[in-house]
């Protein structure tokens, strides 16, 4: 094993290369950025999901930091226990705890455990990698799947136009717990992501950061477009980037007039919203979601 000083040269790669994520995977990139911001004095707790599976197949591991995976829905509770153990043994000043999972484990099956962790005030940073469906099991709809998106369990058909519900607003659920820091971020904006993770880790108590991470396989996008697509989600207003620190909201401004079509048409999961005549009516609904976000978070300077 390398000595700590030698390993520090490679702190950019605390999630080492050689794992088995798909080309263009937004989640693997974001996870690497999170760890780069966190440094090596962290314990990472990981939900079941793509990130866990592509990084930890025994006897190999891509993790250069202490890392644990238990189950799908209990990550926040496992992290609570680790934090409690660090606290009672006086090590909480030297070690940070990061709990992380996908949108399914966060918004759906693990939400109760996350609520418990936030409510009890554990000094844990929870990171949700939001790729908007259950990708590890083969692209099924989650609570964070956006309007009209095609997934294998929200397929468009003669009687359906795809996913029939808007995204669950988990960041605001976190805010409602009165936690000191909540933020949304995007893998398309790595410096902003880096800053938010560093800030979150500088604050004691429970923190929630939700990162938008395109999934080429699940979204039907070109693997080389991951960053562009992530930026389009932000710049159309569909994925507002903001932080809520001690209840105070600050949003990242976006350019004026980027229509949602530019984002949607690059993804086969929205292909059914377009025909030879162009965008169907439903695209207007999606534009309305973007417009509401723009207004709600003040994304565009009037």
């Amino acid at each position: 094993m390398l000595k700590v000083e030698e390993r520090d040269k490679f702190s950019d790669h605390l999630l080492a290369s050689g794992h088995t994520a798909c080309p263009g995977c937004g989640q693997s990139l974001a996870a690497r950025l999170v760890l780069r911001a966190a440094g090596r004095n962290v314990i990472v707790v990981n939900s079941t999901g793509c990130l866990e599976v592509f990084s930890s197949k025994y006897p190999e591991s891509a993790w250069e930091v202490p890392w644990i995976h238990s189950l799908f829905e209990n990550t926040a509770a496992v992290a609570s226990g680790i934090e409690a153990a660090l606290k009672v043994t006086g090590r909480l000043d030297e070690v940070r705890v990061i709990a992380q999972g996908g949108d399914g484990s966060t918004a759906d099956i693990g939400l109760g455990a996350i609520s418990g962790m936030l409510e009890r005030g554990h000094d844990v940073l929870y990171i949700c990698y939001d790729n908007e469906a259950y990708m590890n099991t083969g692209i099924q709809r989650s609570g964070l799947t956006p309007d009209y998106a095609r997934t294998t369990t929200s397929p468009p058909g003669r009687a359906s136009m795809g996913n029939w519900r808007p995204k669950k607003d988990v960041p605001q659920i976190a805010v409602a717990h009165g936690v000191p820091y909540v933020a949304t971020a995007s893998v398309g904006y790595p410096m902003d992501l880096d800053r938010k993770v560093r800030k979150a880790l500088s604050i004691r108590g429970p923190k929630y950061v939700q990162i938008h991470v395109p999934c080429p396989l699940g979204w039907g996008t070109d693997p080389s477009h991951t960053i562009d697509i992530a930026r389009l989600a932000v710049n159309t207003g569909l994925y507002p980037l903001y932080e809520v620190e001690e209840g105070e909201l600050r949003a990242q401004r976006i350019p004026k007039g980027v229509p949602v079509e530019e984002y949607l048409k690059l993804q086969t999961r929205f292909r059914h919203l377009f025909d030879k005549d162009g965008a169907k009516e439903e695209v207007k609904d999606i534009q309305r979601v973007a417009d509401q976000n723009i207004e709600r978070y003040g994304l565009i300077v009037a």
Binding site: S56, Y58, P66, I68, S70, A85, T89, S115
Partner: protein, 397 residues
């Protein structure tokens, strides 16, 4: 003079748990477990135990919190019953697979539906396949004694056991009852149970990956190793019981207790508090000249096949009485006892009876009835003590 104090069982168990110095305790309220965790939270609140007591939003998280804390290298404790244990079950299996020596008390209670908060042993028996060592106590003293031993067994380094241990006690009948319990001093406990020294833990100076996933090339080996370790834990369980007996001057039985078994032609096999009633019947029948005994199983998992064969092979009739049922099949304990004799020279008749479900009293009449019926004919999963079975009433009368 009797040593000890008159204590409610739950208080005694909480004090014993605290004497084992867990650093993180997590639990969710469920009847009849609640008294124990209430007492423990008071002990922590009074500053008598340096520990984090984590009130969680459900049992799945209670088990997950102690899993995480133990992975971070500290001793832990949790406690549940019935539906709570079932809700934990996913984590229960996970804890064993991750080889974390968590210790918990299962305060045995029936499983819904219908909702019923009273005692049987269905809840913990369902968990028999999980990779946890399971120890069943007869009374409050033994629950406390086993709790102390549980930490020592699970944390054993020599075989790198690192196995979780579930101490099971009958709900209401034990934790709600006042009995004299002799608890050791902190010094005595510390001498018996050294501080938890994990073989592996989450540590920034020595990063490890815990909970890696295993494909078909690796998974089966992990299960094999767990199975072999479970089997190898049998002599450790016996040894810790012997150490306990010599350290504290009170017998602890290890795998099982034999009561008037050695020359018995009919031997009852049972677990938990109903053994007390059965012993009374054994004494009564012995007075009448019947060669009857009871083998009270303490260690249900790992199942001590060899020791049981040795202890039971002289019997003509084995009468398994259990507070659980594998619906559509037989009583699980009876099935296990039958497996002991498969293909072996001794071929006793092994009957199975189901008693005391959902808090139904197990009476001396029930026990006499089961013993005498088993002496006449082979029985399998025969429900004893049904209120509306006229035939049973006739035989009991």
């Amino acid at each position: 003079m009797v040593k000890g104090r008159m204590l409610q069982g739950a208080r005694a168990m909480a004090e014993m748990s605290a004497l084992c110095r867990p650093k993180v305790i997590s639990a969710y309220p469920i009847t009849p477990q609640t008294l124990i965790v209430e007492e423990l939270s008071q002990i922590v609140a009074d500053g008598d135990l340096e520990a984090e007591f984590i009130n969680v939003e459900g049992e799945h998280s209670a088990a997950s919190v102690v899993l995480g804390a133990m992975a971070a290298g500290v001793r832990v404790f949790t406690c549940s019953s019935s539906q709570g244990l079932l809700l934990m079950s996913e984590v229960i299996f996970n804890i064993a697979g991750m080889r974390l020596p968590v210790v918990m008390i299962c305060v045995n209670r029936s499983v819904s539906a219908p909702l019923n908060i009273w005692n049987d042993q269905q809840d913990s028996v369902i968990m028999r396949d999980s990779g946890w060592i399971q120890l069943y106590a007869e009374n409050n003293q033994e629950t406390c004694d086993l709790l102390l031993q549980a930490h020592k067994i699970g944390e054993d380094h020599r075989l790198r056991l690192m196995l979780p241990v579930m101490v099971c006690c009958d709900g209401y009948l034990l934790p709600h009852a006042f009995e004299i319990v002799d608890l050791p001093s902190q010094e005595e406990v510390d001498a018996f149970l050294p501080p938890y020294d994990p073989i592996y833990k989450l540590d920034i100076d020595n990063p490890t990956t815990m909970g890696a996933y295993a494909d078909p090339e690796k998974y089966m080996e992990t299960r094999y190793m767990l199975q072999e370790t479970m089997k190898k834990s049998l002599p450790i369980i016996e040894e810790v019981a012997r150490d306990f007996s010599s350290s504290f001057g009170r017998t602890s039985y290890g795998l099982f207790e034999k009561y008037r078994v050695d020359d018995a032609s009919t031997v009852v096999v049972a677990m938990g508090s109903m053994a007390g009633t059965i012993k009374d019947v054994v004494d009564e029948l012995r007075d009448q000249g019947e060669k009857v005994g009871i083998l009270r199983l303490v260690c249900y998992r790992p199942f001590p096949k060899e020791a049981l064969y040795e202890a039971l092979s002289g019997a003509e009739n084995i009468v398994v009485m259990e507070k659980c049922i594998s619906l559509g099949a037989s009583g699980p304990v009876a099935t296990d006892v039958r497996s002991v004799f498969q293909g072996r020279p001794a071929t006793p008749r092994i009957s199975g009876f189901v008693l005391g479900l959902g808090g139904r009293d197990v009476t001396m009449d029930n026990v006499r009835y089961a013993i005498h019926k088993a002496q006449q004919q082979l029985e399998d999963a025969d429900f004893v003590g049904l209120k509306e079975d006229l035939e049973l009433e006739g035989i009991n009368a």
